[in-house]
Symmetry: C2
Subunit: 396 residues, 2 copies
Amino acid sequence: MIPVNPDRFRSDLHALRQIGAAGQGKGVIRPAYTPDDIAARDWLAGRFAEAGLEVAWDPMGSLFGLAPGRSLLMGSHSDTQPEGGWLDGALGVIAALEIARAAQEAGGPAVSVVSFQDEEGRFGVTTGSAAWSGALDRTAVDGLTDRDGVTLAQARSAMGHRLGDWIDPARFTGFVEMHIEQGPLLDQTGGKIGVVEAIVGIRDMVIRFEGQQNHAGTTPMALRRDAFQALSAFNTKVNDRFANVVTPATVWTIGHVALHPNAHSVVPGRASFSMQWRDIDPDRLTRMEVIIRDTAAEVADDMGMAAEFGSMLGVAPVAMDAGLRGRLCVAAEAETPGAWREMPSGALHDASNMARLMPSAMLFVPSIGGISHDFAEDTAEADLVTGLKVLARALG
Amino acid sequence: MIPVNPDRFRSDLHALRQIGAAGQGKGVIRPAYTPDDIAARDWLAGRFAEAGLEVAWDPMGSLFGLAPGRSLLMGSHSDTQPEGGWLDGALGVIAALEIARAAQEAGGPAVSVVSFQDEEGRFGVTTGSAAWSGALDRTAVDGLTDRDGVTLAQARSAMGHRLGDWIDPARFTGFVEMHIEQGPLLDQTGGKIGVVEAIVGIRDMVIRFEGQQNHAGTTPMALRRDAFQALSAFNTKVNDRFANVVTPATVWTIGHVALHPNAHSVVPGRASFSMQWRDIDPDRLTRMEVIIRDTAAEVADDMGMAAEFGSMLGVAPVAMDAGLRGRLCVAAEAETPGAWREMPSGALHDASNMARLMPSAMLFVPSIGGISHDFAEDTAEADLVTGLKVLARALG
């Protein structure tokens, strides 16, 4: 077991949240490439150097603290959502720092640390690790823009002289990321640790029912082709039909709805909506897609409408490395017997990209109330320390 | 039977649509108080004078052509929607003109004509006739504003010297309005004439389900409180429960939906939507309201949410006068045997307000494809003439 120092770990975590502090609870405002994000990275670079790690920045602004020779890479990200919490990303970076520092002090093993840039997706999704891993074309990333039309090239130029060359992934033996769950499962079931079995795949599609816009007073019910009614019928049928296909970990969401013309006195002629579903099994994702397409077509046909399908966003599931997972499970059972579980990650993480380059694994600690991407995000500090100790035991 | 001249009637109808012609099909652009609306009223005033009627304008800008002594009032409105058809309103005014003119030529009966101002609701709903009837407070109307913040006082000042005093309703024995159906019922059933039995009452309420906003990847289905799912469940249950209460003429509509935050990857925490229902029976409207409130509360309770109800817009049903209705039915059967029906009006009309002042009735002719409030609005000219002849026969 790597002899970690929980107080030093907690102290660093609280120090980091002072940079970009929102002034509301423990909230933090450090979107990628903003002055506070860069200040946080500079502070981390100083801590890495003090721990005896070699500081290196890649062209995206991802910050590495490198142990000599081949090493295990650990970390996450230190950028936040525009209204972010103090643990999302930061926890994984500071835990990695403490493990690397304690390992260095103990004479091994060799552990390097990374804080990836723009995990929160100002310019994409897990942009920094995606570019490093090749999931994103490195030559094309500079053209990505944020909501305000700023290009990534403009944004990263703020990091100036820091930016260096790409780090060679071959120097790393694997990647381990600790993260808050960002969901309610551990919190509601009294779990202390989640060992991630896989990161879910995501499919996301816009579906449109095209009916007939009509006067809501003069059009008898029997003569309507009401696109909202089609959406409601589709939703009911899809929920029924999924029952035989899904597991308790499968999720699906209609999160965006746009009716046209969206007026009290007009029968909606058009309903556009998002259908998103996530699972760790690509075959299940495909079976769900067949049900979705068939049901929408059937409902449209029943109601004398057209169903149109937008282009499909697809992110494949990513399995975690069996060897690293096994070590995390054994350590979790030793640290917190019976109070841990294997579970999927329903959100994407930098580990999604790292799995393309090296054996990768993730460890979750509970999120109070399942809250994240919010100033109110929090985790009991005892749970944070439990997570740190599981890592120290698994990787020692 | 009043000896009407169908060619003169059709010629006047086509002349009127030249004023504010949209340049697309027979479309017309004459919103209340715009220069083209006023030009149309000036043209009508000339026609009224030529027909031997006394021209009078009320303070709202509603234009009357008065027959001497006590008379039957006929008419509708000549303002249009921002993208309007050539018949919505204009048909009732020109039919009234032809009836009054032919009656004048034949030595009786005495028929007066009106074109109400702002039936299309730039400043409210059937604003001109509502102010005259007292449904709207005459002293408060000047403070009404349109979408651009223009007050009614500013808008009506464009009518300048034309504006006169309120006309005494006591000089009229009743009110008859011919109008296009604005729905598909006559067109789809081959009907030529609809005799309106009542104008529907309308109830309209915003309902809000307040659930829990969550991450669409990390929140298991069993732990969600998804406000869109509540809306869909509410819709399904209300449709089922209404089956035992409604008639084929009852209508209800969810026309406006707003999810929050309305994003693909977020479980909707809030769903706000409009529920509007219309029927000619106030008891049925109330029974439906009970079902709506009970079902929303029940769904919210089942799903661990709150249901909130906005304030209720209520317009009471308006029965048409039995005597005038009977004369219209007899005349319809004589003109077009078996090809007419009694039916509710699902839309509000100036006759809704006139029924407060005097016995009132309405006659519908078919709308091709049920289309109105659109440049494409149209009716076969033979059907327009049939409507004119039914009026001439019923009122002669």
